[in-house]
């Protein structure tokens, strides 16, 4: 028998629930927000394709009831690029983790952004490699701990949104598993946006990130996001001391630029015409 809210019944493979994620893992919250965004946009479910790599985050494709593809570590964007070029009418959404997208898959991320291909990436950033037991990732904050950095990492962390903007992404936003309405709105705008969009969704991994860094349980992590997130629009107005230790959420880029599949199709069309003139 089907269980759960209408949203869950309509958009999840509810016979696969409850999911595998740990108690209080933010990944479940973000996955629901993606389903809510798709639902709000009233998209034809057969025209949605969700692609993921490998990691706890990337397991989301197993639960979402759309066309889904669970690929190899770091390569979700490469698979997604193939899908988008072959079937441009599909809404292609990539679900990835901080490790998946910024370590092993870092090149795919920057070049997808550079091409401005019409793909939406939702990056579940729990600041650690959750699936493999808590190794530090390129998003582990400077001086914080993982199993591979027991004394605190000396590798400075990426600002993933700045990275995406620098590489050419045309819609970029950040939110957290605490700020669900904002997160949903950003994902919705990202999916509607034409071009490469990235939403960094800060997720709590109480099992490894929380424990290794003595940041407490799932509720403590949610309190942290509540207390330390600062909306980018507010940030300009508040006193510098109120910004101390805070991280920015909100929309960082929203612009238009030539899209990759369009450009590719223009060449195809031009060559077809030149070919027919030769006959």
């Amino acid at each position: 028998m089907s269980q759960g809210s209408q949203l869950i019944q309509d958009n999840f493979r509810d016979n696969r629930l409850p999911h595998i994620w740990c108690p209080g893992c933010g990944h479940g919250i973000i996955t629901r927000a993606i389903a809510q965004a798709i639902d709000n946009l009233n998209l034809d479910k057969d025209k949605v394709c969700v692609v993921s790599g490998i990691g706890c985050s990337s397991r989301a494709t197993g639960y979402l009831n759309f066309n889904t593809l669970h690929t190899t570590h770091g390569r979700a964007l490469a698979f997604a690029t193939g899908i988008k070029l072959a079937r441009p009418e599909l809404k292609v959404i990539v679900i990835t983790g901080d490790g998946d997208a910024t370590a092993i898959g870092g090149n795919h991320l920057i070049h997808s952004a550079r091409r401005n291909i019409d793909i939406t990436t939702v990056l579940f950033n729990n600041k650690i490699y959750g699936m493999t037991g808590g190794q530090s990732s390129p998003a582990t904050p400077y001086h914080e701990k993982g199993t591979t950095s027991p004394y605190g990492t000396i590798d400075p962390d990426f600002d993933i949104c700045k990275l995406a903007i620098g590489a050419g992404a045309t819609y970029v936003a950040r939110s957290t598993a605490y700020h669900v309405p904002q997160l949903t709105k950003h994902i919705q705008k990202a999916i509607a946006h034409k071009g490469f969009s990235l939403v960094e969704a800060i997720s709590g991994c109480p099992t490894y990130y929380g424990r290794k860094n003595k940041k407490g349980d799932a509720v403590d992590l949610m309190h942290f996001y509540k207390d330390y997130a600062l909306d980018v629009k507010m940030a300009e107005k508040v006193d510098p001391e109120k910004r101390e230790g805070k991280f920015l959420i909100g929309e960082f880029a929203n612009e238009e630029r030539a899209e990759y599949v369009d450009e590719y199709m223009k060449i195809v069309e031009r060559l077809r015409q030149e070919g027919s003139q030769d006959e």
Binding site: Q3, G4, L17, G24, I29, M222
Partner: protein
């Protein structure tokens, strides 16, 4: 004037609840609690239908449903 009745009921799926405590901690009117590691609604009447529990439950174990 009669108090406006809330339209939706809070529903739970105890088998899906993993007792993370997120909904309990952030319910604005504090009507949720864990009993034997499963979610329980203590006072439906006070629910403001804010949806925060549903949006933030990582396990989809609590949600609001229209009453017949």
């Amino acid at each position: 004037m009669a108090k406006v009745k809330t339209k939706k009921m809070v529903k739970t799926i105890p088998e899906w609840c993993k007792a993370c405590g997120i909904c309990v901690a952030f319910c604005p009117v504090k009507i949720l609690k864990l009993e034997n590691d499963k979610i329980v609604v203590t006072d439906q009447e006070k629910c403001t239908n804010c949806m925060l529990c549903e949006m933030r439950c990582p396990d989809y174990a609590i949600y609001l449903e229209e009453q017949e």
